[in-house]
Amino acid sequence: MKKKNIIQGILWIAIYLVLVLIPVFFMFIEPRPEGREFWRELSVSLGFIGLAMMALQFVLTTRFKWLKAPYGADIVYHFHRQISFVALALILAHPLLLFTFSPDTLALLLVWSAPWRARAAVTAVIALFAVVGLSVWRKKLKIEYNRWRIWHGIFASAAVAFAMVHVLLVGHYVDLPWKRALWISYGIFWVGLLIYTRLIKPIFLLKRPYLVAEVKQELGNAWSLTLEPVGHKGFQFHPGQFAWITVRHSPFADVEHPFSISSSAEDQGKLTFTIKELGDFTSTIKDLQIGEKVYVDGPFGSFSVNRHSHAQEFVFIAGGVGITPIMSMLRTLVDRRDERKLTLIYANKDWNQITFRDEIEELKRKLNLKIVHVLEIPPENWFGEKGFINQEILLKSLPDFKQRNRMEIFICGPAPMMNAVEKTLDQLGVWAGDFHSERFVFV
């Protein structure tokens, strides 16, 4: 399974690289326009590659399951963020090289007197700055997530559209009809992606609604929301995966939130999400009424025991509500009567904040499960682990960690906890391919 994922992952990166470099390959094809000075040609080439990268950003964020499967959705989004800085640098290099080596081109910045090709370029760069700026400073600017998503899409589309207009108006490397047709078909492809995400996908979701079957309070200020499909069979998922849910809006409104599924993957049809009250939206989950309509887009993610069937042992390291996808895996393993050795290291603030506390205790009777509770503020007479998950606790709980491919470790919780645990596992010499995490940071 691992080998297949690695090969698939490398293949997608190779395809991505080809798609990014394809404009330059096309520029190489004869007949080519007469060559100009080195810096001008370099500037043009960097601009074309930057534009291709920008356009491919739409593919990265469109929820194609086959694209995200080898890496996990969080890594694709992480790459989307990192490559946007690379694209911005290449695109800015395009005018900066021109201004440096042909200072007369600076006059193109005077948009009131500049030709339309320059106006389109300036607008594209402004839109691109807006895309990157709003993403980097969204939290500081206190822009609500869904509002940001809408503006992110608008500015990104504008940046690509105006850059395309710039390319076609300059016309230097798109002077031949087939080269022009190529760029226009690139544009049609992006419009097609937009139509898919904004129209086709919402229609599909609208036809497959779910109804709220139960809203149950859990320890740790969390709520379990159970949904039942109406007029369809729901979807199959791997335990540990997540889905985007839309409540109180139509799927066309594009107001979605990602949550981990906490129910067993063997209990097909019904879906349970366990959601901790953390912000505006999560605080309204408890107010959902039985029978209320909900739309679910999923499943997504590669954080699952299903991808590591070879493992002789599973270790789950959870912090707070990070138990949710792990609970789905544990419940599934119960339903499958799995007899492998399991260890759950579960960190919480105090004894009364432990979501699923009683059910987890119950699971000990059904699974070969060892539980290590780690409490930041333990009660009196507590003999268990105290403080945070550290090297000492991991060493005690994972005696066979150095044997590659034997034990698969799943980590889910707040970002500082995940960073610390990953760093410690790395220091202990655990092979990076043996531990897995998924992060819900999409901006």
Partner: protein, 31 residues
Amino acid sequence: MRQKISTYIAIAIGGISIIVSIIFALVQSQG
């Protein structure tokens, strides 16, 4: 770790893009 790898891949793609652009500019400016 996976995030670090994806950052390195993004940087590598940027580096390859620059190298390909330089090759193109060298060929085109001499042609």
